[in-house]
Amino acid sequence: MNNYYKSVQLSIFIVCFGSSLIAQLKGSNLGEFQYGRLPNDSTSVATVYDRIITNYSFGGFKTRAVVEDFEKGVQEEDYLKLSQFSVRFKKSPFELEVGNFYETIGRGILLRSFEVPGTILEDHSFRSRHYFHRNMLGVNASYKRSKTDIKIIYGKPLNYVFPPTIEKERRRPDEIAAFYIDYSLGKQTLGAAMITHTNGINSDNYLMMNASGSFLKSLSYYTEIAKNTSDHKLGDFTRNTPYGIYTNLNFSANRFGISLEYKNYNRFVIGAGINEPPAGIKEHTYSVLNRSAHVLQTDNETGFQFELFYTFLENSILTLNTSLAHNKQPNREFTFREYFAEYGFVLFDIIDTKFFVDFADDPFKLEHQRLSIGLNANWEILTRSSAEIGYQNQRFERLIQRVEYHVLFLDFQYSPKLSNNILYEYSNDPFLTNGEFATWLGAGIRYKLNRKNNLQIFVGNRRGGPACQAGVCYEVLNFKGVELRFYSRF
């Protein structure tokens, strides 16, 4: 038996080696070492996470394998797993993929897959780290031409909360079969999708229709209506029917752009959350705003978002945004409102400056009269070296308390090799401090060894809390210690 395995391994090696001269074997490795304390840790703990991706292409075939490894010295939390594997065959206009794949239907109202680049997730309950993504495990067949896009999908979406240490059935409790088709006539497209969802207990059918296009080079639109059709009539959009309606209208003229979005979601959580309709709320990159983002309640939310961009001469950019989200719960109603303005300009020809003001009211999170301001300045010191300084302040009323956050950061870059930063945060938020106030101080270095390898080091204290990245909101844990990350391509 042992000889048999050796022969198989040798054969695979010879085939791969021989064909490698005309094929491609590429990949990357992300390794992270942490030594420090997370919430509920009484002492510092050392952990190692590693993720290796290999892509092997040969003609129209491509295989992708992702191996993840986490070592902490705790048997229930450690793992070494082939976490993703897929085989794809592509011959235009057909494509067939078996295994793990990423697929989103329309704007994600029915189904959304994602991978948040560079983010390793750790949950309060499952103290095991894994890469942050939601993919499908199954079969994805598509036919794509300039006018037509057809997709047939069968698979089990990942519930990303569960790390690879949890059994497959819990990580992928939902099973879907979907069909999507769209057809374009000129600049207008009409599409439709059907999806059947089951989780072993319940089974539901959903229907979606979308339309998108543009007129006169300056006006474009996108609209998507989806609903549960299992026990509900097609035209029934009453309170007991699960449905999702999303519309977006854009207008652009010279140096000027407007985006208007409308949403109306009712009981529209599919399975363990395999869909992710557009939130209709701005995703901020400023940390005080990013961490206080309103999280979409697809169970019941209506609202709109309006955003305006204007680029002045000399590339100064003005962004204005306002959004409203209304949630109805059995005994209460909440209305979230936000007004945001940002102006980016170049001062004295060398200093890239950004200034923002944000005012919001979020009764769902008990944050009233929330005012946030911030300033960023980035200037070139010498050729390829620059410095950046930023300050952000946020204050709001919670019950009878006045809560404040201050964020200060300094950054020095020698492009493209080196980047150093220091981040200081202060808060008197009783949800975080259990006392009068708390501070967080952290320093980071990013060093690019060469075009294929880079190194990142973090030392200090990192504030946890909600965070939104690439459109997905999740929880970051507090961390105090040292973190070393090495990324390489091969």
Partner: protein
């Protein structure tokens, strides 16, 4: 021990293999028209910019990429912007691209499958592709004077061509 041999074998083979190539992709642009890499790629070089509307360095890079595009488009170099915004912010790509007067084509990749396919893990990432569709240079992030670095690489690869 077997795993170590396998790892070395993979690394060793990766040195022998050809350069990574960009597959011919088909994506919709901000005017809702399907576009293919085959039709958009430059005669000599193509720069593919992976970006998102919420990424500040990505926005900072755009005016410089516009300048580079205008300077090199007649020399067989094209730029393609691949936007990777998800459902939350994809609606803003069109208005923002037009407000920033992006001159080169911008394509929408809502599920980021092209980014994942090419193993891109950072925003922005600029991928330089030669006429054989081989990736000849990858640049992650965008800081002051990176435009000079990009121009240096374009010149170098045009000379090598």
């Amino acid at each position: 021990m077997k795993n170590i041999y396998l790892f070395y074998a993979i690394v060793f083979m990766s040195f022998l293999t050809n350069a990574q190539t960009v597959p011919n992709f088909l994506l919709k642009d901000i005017d809702n028209q399907m576009q293919s890499f085959e039709n958009l790629k430059g005669e000599k070089l193509t720069l593919i910019d992976f970006w998102a509307t919420w990424c500040k360095p990505c926005i900072k890079a755009i005016p410089k990429l516009n300048e580079i595009y205008n300077e090199y488009k007649e020399k067989g170099v094209n730029i393609i912007g691949i936007n990777c915004d998800g459902p939350r912010s994809i609606s803003k790509v069109g208005p923002m691209s037009k407000a920033l007067s992006i001159q080169y084509p911008v394509l929408l990749n809502i599920d980021s499958d092209l980014r994942i396919d090419l193993d891109i893990n950072y925003y922005p990432t600029l991928v330089m592709v030669n006429q054989k569709d081989e990736i000849v240079w990858i640049h992650e992030g965008y800081g002051h004077s990176d435009d000079k670095l990009i121009v240096e690489q374009i010149e170098k690869n045009l000379r090598d061509d």
